[in-house]
């Protein structure tokens, strides 16, 4: 189907911050502000216009909303005050829920597996392990190469105590409370998305 007229309405209602898409005036500031701009298939501006035009397949199959690094450049400049970063993350989540997202897409894999497992298993981010897993996401050889490229930065961070080399072991104090909180959030999210 080329145009799905219910798509925009559904995004406004069920994608996080999706209703803001109505406010976009297509000025292009977000696209020009994004440091990864040239690598997106569609700029945020284009994504929003595709949503409004009912181009469901184009939007949900696109890699674009997985490209956002949360730098917030677009948010501070958008003349209409759209929370672009959050809308884009919302669309990524929406695509996942609708079964469009490729689980092997690198950002998807990082966010839903590597980062998620890292934080949920202990209750806090273990930086060293997280960085390692990110580096080796494309296999051993690529990981070693990436590690070598970044070694000066890593050493600098170590020297200034910005990186803890010892992997964090064990769980945070009160882990049970943390786990209960996550479980509750997941329950609420599932309920909301089931209604969608």
């Amino acid at each position: 189907m080329a145009y799905d007229l219910s798509f925009a309405q559904d995004v406004y209602k069920n994608s996080e911050m999706g209703h803001w898409i109505k406010m976009c005036k297509q000025c292009g500031v977000c696209a020009g502000s994004c440091p990864l701009g040239p690598h997106w298939e569609y700029s945020p501006r284009q994504l929003f216009q595709l949503v409004r035009g009912g181009k469901k397949e184009e939007v949900l199959k696109s890699q674009s909303m997985w490209m956002c690094t949360s730098c917030y450049n677009c948010i501070v400049r958008c003349p209409r005050g759209l929370p672009i970063t959050h809308i884009v993350h919302g669309l990524a989540r929406y695509a996942s829920v609708k079964g469009y997202a490729d689980p092997n897409q690198v950002t998807n894999r990082f966010a839903t597996k590597i980062f998620w497992t890292n934080i949920v298993s202990t209750g806090r981010v273990g930086e060293a392990m997280l960085t390692m897993r990110l580096y080796f996401v494309d296999g051993l050889a690529a990981g070693i190469q990436r590690g070598l490229e970044m070694k000066d930065s890593a050493l600098g961070m170590l020297m200034t105590k910005r990186l803890n080399p010892i992997p964090f072991r064990g769980k945070i104090k009160g882990y049970a409370g943390f786990a209960a909180m996550i479980a509750k959030a997941q329950e609420l999210e599932a309920k909301r998305e089931a209604g969608a």
């Binding site: 005036k25 297509q26 000025c27 292009g28 500031v29 977000c30 696209a31 020009g32 502000s33 701009g37 040239p38 569609y42 700029s43 501006r45 284009q46 501070v76 400049r77 003349p79 209409r80 005050g81």
Partner: protein, 420 residues
């Protein structure tokens, strides 16, 4: 009793730009007494800083000149320059106002011969040209100024040299003091106009950091023969002729971080300024970046005329930021062309930010006391004791400001007739 009636009929007009001038002469020409209070040393407001008027591209001085004649020939209008309203009490039909007039240090005897200015050795940044050049500390703002009477900067008046300046008619008085007047008036028209939005606040565009990024009001002065370059369009960093120039629309307008409203004139102002460039340098290339073009109502013909010029390129895009080439000082405009989706980084000799009109009543010209009603942007609107006209009431072009001010003159007459 007769005295009392006359007093109740006096109309106070605050601001001597095109709007205040219009309200003043319209009310006076049907027989009412008018007191016109202007903060600057001369009348004319922002219009006197423009090079040409859209849509006819004639000089604004002729339109102003006619109004100055009407003021000069009408004994019912009293003009106070360098003056501000400090306090207002009472209500429609019966106001008492306190006005402070700052010293001019030159009396009305001045014939504008310029002898004093020739002898003066102190130079100051020229406020009339937005500080882009230097002028004498005793001067006229521009040759068309009305009243055609010189003035001296307050700081200079305290210098030893100020006491030695020659004047064939003895008009110079460095000891002149401020005066405070109390007046009874029947109605008040607030016509304090606008000021250019502060371009430094639009951080990603680099005004104030990038030397060749300018603003539309500065560009009016650059094009003007009494401007800092005597009317030649030369860029600030190296005086190079401006052959490749970009205009950026809605710079700080229609933007929730800046002025949320549309100023209605800046699209037309950029189109007009594009003609300045094309006229002066027939081989120049002009680019206009816009979200959507707003040539309000009857100005569409003007837009069509400008659009017919092949030397002007239109790019539908609000640029994200402006960088500067460190060696050439060329500004580089960066953004996304929203019709093609292609990202650009285009370099120019100079970039002009089409900044909007911020009501002075929001900041430097608040109505004293509680007699005015404001809208969310600081324009003076209906609902208070004080009437408003021109750009103090909403963003307007000159024709719109004149129309609105003529209408307000009638309201001011009616309000003045009310018994307090």
């Amino acid at each position: 009793m007769a005295d009392d009636q006359a007093a109740s009929r006096t109309i106070l007009v605050v601001g001597g730009g095109i709007s205040g001038l219009t309200a003043a002469v319209e009310a006076a020409e049907v027989g009412h007494t008018v007191l016109l209070v202007e903060r600057e040393p001369q009348l004319g407001g922002r219009v006197s800083q423009h090079f040409q008027y859209f849509p006819k591209l004639c000089s604004p001085s002729c339109g102003l000149e006619i109004n100055y004649q009407r003021v000069k020939n009408n004994p019912r209008i009293r003009v106070l320059t360098l003056a501000e309203v400090e306090a207002i009490s009472g209500q429609e039909g019966d106001f008492t106002v306190r006005i402070r007039q700052h010293p001019r240090f030159v009396t009305e005897k001045c014939t504008a011969c310029g002898e004093c200015s020739k002898a003066c050795t102190t130079m100051v940044a020229n406020p009339f040209n937005f500080g882009m050049d230097q002028v004498k500390a005793i001067r006229n703002s521009h040759p068309m100024a009305y009243p055609n009477c010189y003035f001296m900067d307050a700081e200079y008046a305290r210098s030893a040299e100020a006491r030695t300046l020659p004047c064939p008619v003895g008009a110079i008085d460095p000891d002149m003091q401020a005066t405070v007047l109390e007046e009874h008036v029947g109605s008040i028209v607030w016509a304090t106009g606008w000021r250019p939005y502060d371009a430094e606040k639009i951080q990603p565009y680099g005004f104030g950091r990038h030397v060749n990024v300018s603003t539309n009001m500065r560009f009016e002065r650059l094009a003007n023969s009494y401007g800092p370059t005597s009317g030649r369009l030369l860029r600030p960093s190296d005086g190079k002729e401006v052959k490749k120039i970009a205009f950026i629309q809605c710079a700080g307008s229609r933007d929730h971080n800046h002025l949320p409203f549309c100023s209605r004139v800046c699209c037309l102002a950029s189109m007009k300024q594009a003609t300045y460039v094309r006229e002066q340098y027939p081989d120049a290339q002009v680019t206009i970046y816009y979200i959507d073009l707003r040539a309000m109502d009857r100005y569409e013909g003007f837009q069509k005329k400008v659009e017919a010029d092949p030397g002007i390129t239109w790019i539908k895009s609000k640029p994200a930021r402006i960088d500067e080439d460190p060696a050439s000082k060329d500004p580089i405009v960066i953004g996304e062309n929203t019709l093609t989706g292609i990202r650009y980084a285009d370099s120019y000799d100079m970039v002009v930010l089409a900044t909007g009109m911020e009501p002075t009543s929001a900041t430097t010209a608040r109505v004293p006391g509680h007699s005015a009603a404001y809208d969310e942007y600081g324009f003076v609107v209906k609902g208070g004791q004080v009437l408003s006209s021109g750009c103090a009431a909403s963003p307007l072009d000159v024709a719109g400001a004149v129309q609105a001010s003529t209408a307000v003159a009638l309201k001011a007459i009616q309000a003045a007739a009310k018994r307090g």
